[in-house]
């Protein structure tokens, strides 16, 4: 890698430790990339180049010293506006969100605020107020969203990593479509203070990175404590003793054949690393979409209530319509959806327990990045509305509230797609170990 902007965080740290690269050089390299491609990709809604240079001059000696990051514009960074990608709504936070404060204390350089769907209430990376984000692999394609900016920036060298949020798949979908890794930590694993909420039952803050190892480091820093590797198979193959359940209902007829083939290849690599793969079947998982829709729409309407009452006309039409309908959902309907959610979650946990599964596996998106003007996409021979298609595989694995890792596993026509691994509560270390082992094996040419 000749341009420092293309390094992983781990490689940049190595070069800086060896004295071959300075924080200032790294940040200048990233800022040059922002200058060259930022306009076309629309990955940032706000860039603080001078602030980044200032931070790079005194990076300290923390684990992220001098590492340039992109923070999704629903997360507060002191000194930068938080707009949530909205028209007219903004705040000027006096303090960093705790996750950002921890990144800065570790030496991270915040380049700016990343593109997002309006109020993070979208899955495609479009934004009628600020313009759509463009996919670095083909700017005529969508990035996915709503963590569109950090994913595109990380993929294109406009940052070495990022921070985003995930309510329905907003970290995982853009990670899949842009070819980067992302982790949705378990609910409650990271503080949500200083983050514009969308739905309390689902909102999670998490890292975006070029490698699973980088995502693990960012998670460590944002948690404030290291994630201990607890993979049991120390003797023998790296992942001996682990079991993964393939959620077959999320593969057959739910994704394009090239995605299913990619998942199959990825599982073959994992088997070679020692993982035992078993089919996992659920009676209730197909109810997850309905549960999620009712809960999310109700909670989003409540969250947006006061602002919406004043400014409904300033919302994008699709977001406005969902919020209006959300206002009209009866309380009993919301509670019945939360009761049904308990059944879905109980079944997910029971199957993982009974089958002794460390993780569930499924594709992240049913297809590669669609064209920017797509309203529907083809999935296994059927045309499916874009929003429904893009979140069709992430929503079911969101329900349990456990961690979900998304990592790239292949390309089709030069466009990336990914795999999700969903773990139990507290299972982040195991997911990250599986992902890192997969990356190590495939990077070596497996």
């Amino acid at each position: 890698v000749s341009d420092p902007a293309d390094l992983t965080i781990a490689a940049a740290r190595e070069q800086m430790a060896a004295g071959r690269l300075s924080a200032a050089e790294l940040v200048e390299s990233v800022l040059a990339r922002v200058e060259a491609r930022g306009g076309a990709l629309h990955a940032y809604l706000y860039v603080d180049a001078e602030g980044a240079r200032r931070q790079a001059r005194r990076p300290g000696d923390g684990p992220l010293a001098g590492i340039p990051l992109c923070v999704k514009d629903v997360i507060d960074v002191a000194g930068m506006p938080t707009t949530a990608g909205a028209a007219g709504w903004s705040r000027r936070p006096a303090a960093d969100a705790p996750v950002v404060a921890r990144l800065r204390r570790a030496g991270a350089v915040i380049v700016g605020k990343g593109h997002t769907n309006e109020f993070a209430y979208g899955i495609d990376g479009r934004n009628p107020h600020h313009g759509d984000a463009a996919n670095p692999h083909d700017p005529a394609r969508l990035t996915g969203g709503s963590t569109s900016g950090p994913a595109a920036a990380t993929a294109a060298g406009l940052a070495l990593g990022g921070v985003g949020t995930d309510t329905s798949g907003s970290l995982r979908v853009p990670a899949s479509l842009c070819g980067v890794a992302a982790l949705r930590p378990a609910l409650g694993a990271l503080p949500r203070t200083g983050v514009v909420p969308l739905a309390w039952s689902y909102d999670a803050v998490g890292p975006v990175a070029r490698s699973v190892a980088d995502a693990a480091l960012l998670l460590d820093v944002m948690r404030g404590e290291p994630v201990e590797d607890d993979v049991p198979g120390a003797a023998g193959r790296p992942l001996d003793g682990l079991r993964i359940g393939l959620v077959e209902d999320l593969v057959a007829a739910r994704c394009e054949p090239y995605v299913a083939a990619g998942v199959d290849r990825a599982l073959t690599v994992l088997r070679e690393l020692g993982v035992e793969v078993a089919p996992a079947h659920f009676e209730l998982l197909h109810r997850a979409g309905a549960v999620h829709r009712v809960v999310q729409m109700s909670e989003a309407a409540s969250i947006h209530g006061p602002w919406f009452a004043e400014q409904a006309a300033r919302y994008a039409p699709d977001v406005r319509e969902r919020l209006e309908a959300g206002h009209l959902i009866p309380a009993r309907a919301y509670l019945d959806a939360q009761r049904a959610r308990r059944l879905v979650v109980d079944e997910l946990r029971a199957v993982m327990e009974a089958e002794r599964l460390d993780a569930l596996a499924a594709p992240t998106t049913p297809a590669v990045a669609p064209p920017r003007d797509a309203e529907e996409i083809e999935v296994a021979g059927r045309m499916v509305p874009l929003r429904a298609a893009l979140q069709s595989l992430t929503v079911p694995l969101t329900e349990s509230g456990g961690p979900v890792l998304a990592l790239p596993i292949g390309t089709h026509d030069g466009l990336p797609f990914g795999l999700q691994l969903a773990g139990r509560h507290g299972g982040e270390p195991r997911l990250l170990a599986i992902g890192a082992a997969y990356e190590g094996a495939t990077a070596a040419g497996a």
């Binding site: 039952s201 209730l284 109810r287 979409g289 309905a290 549960v291 829709r293 009712v294 729409m297 009452a309 409904a312 319509e321 969902r322 209006e324 309908a325 206002h327 009209l328 959902i329 309907a333 509670l335 019945d336 959806a337 939360q338 009761r339 049904a340 959610r341 308990r342 059944l343 979650v345």
Partner: protein, 57 residues
Amino acid sequence: VPLPAETVAALAAAAGLDIEPGRLEEVGAALEAVLGDVDRLRELDLEDVEPLVPPAG
């Protein structure tokens, strides 16, 4: 059966929402879809199931 515009207008008024008459139909369709979701969820046996809302503390 689509929700009549008058029903949507009445619900909106009760919720303090001001929806233009020309948009009542589309909002009604979105609401209709989500209430259909709820009906299907109620086919499950929800008796004795508490909502998955975190308890205080």
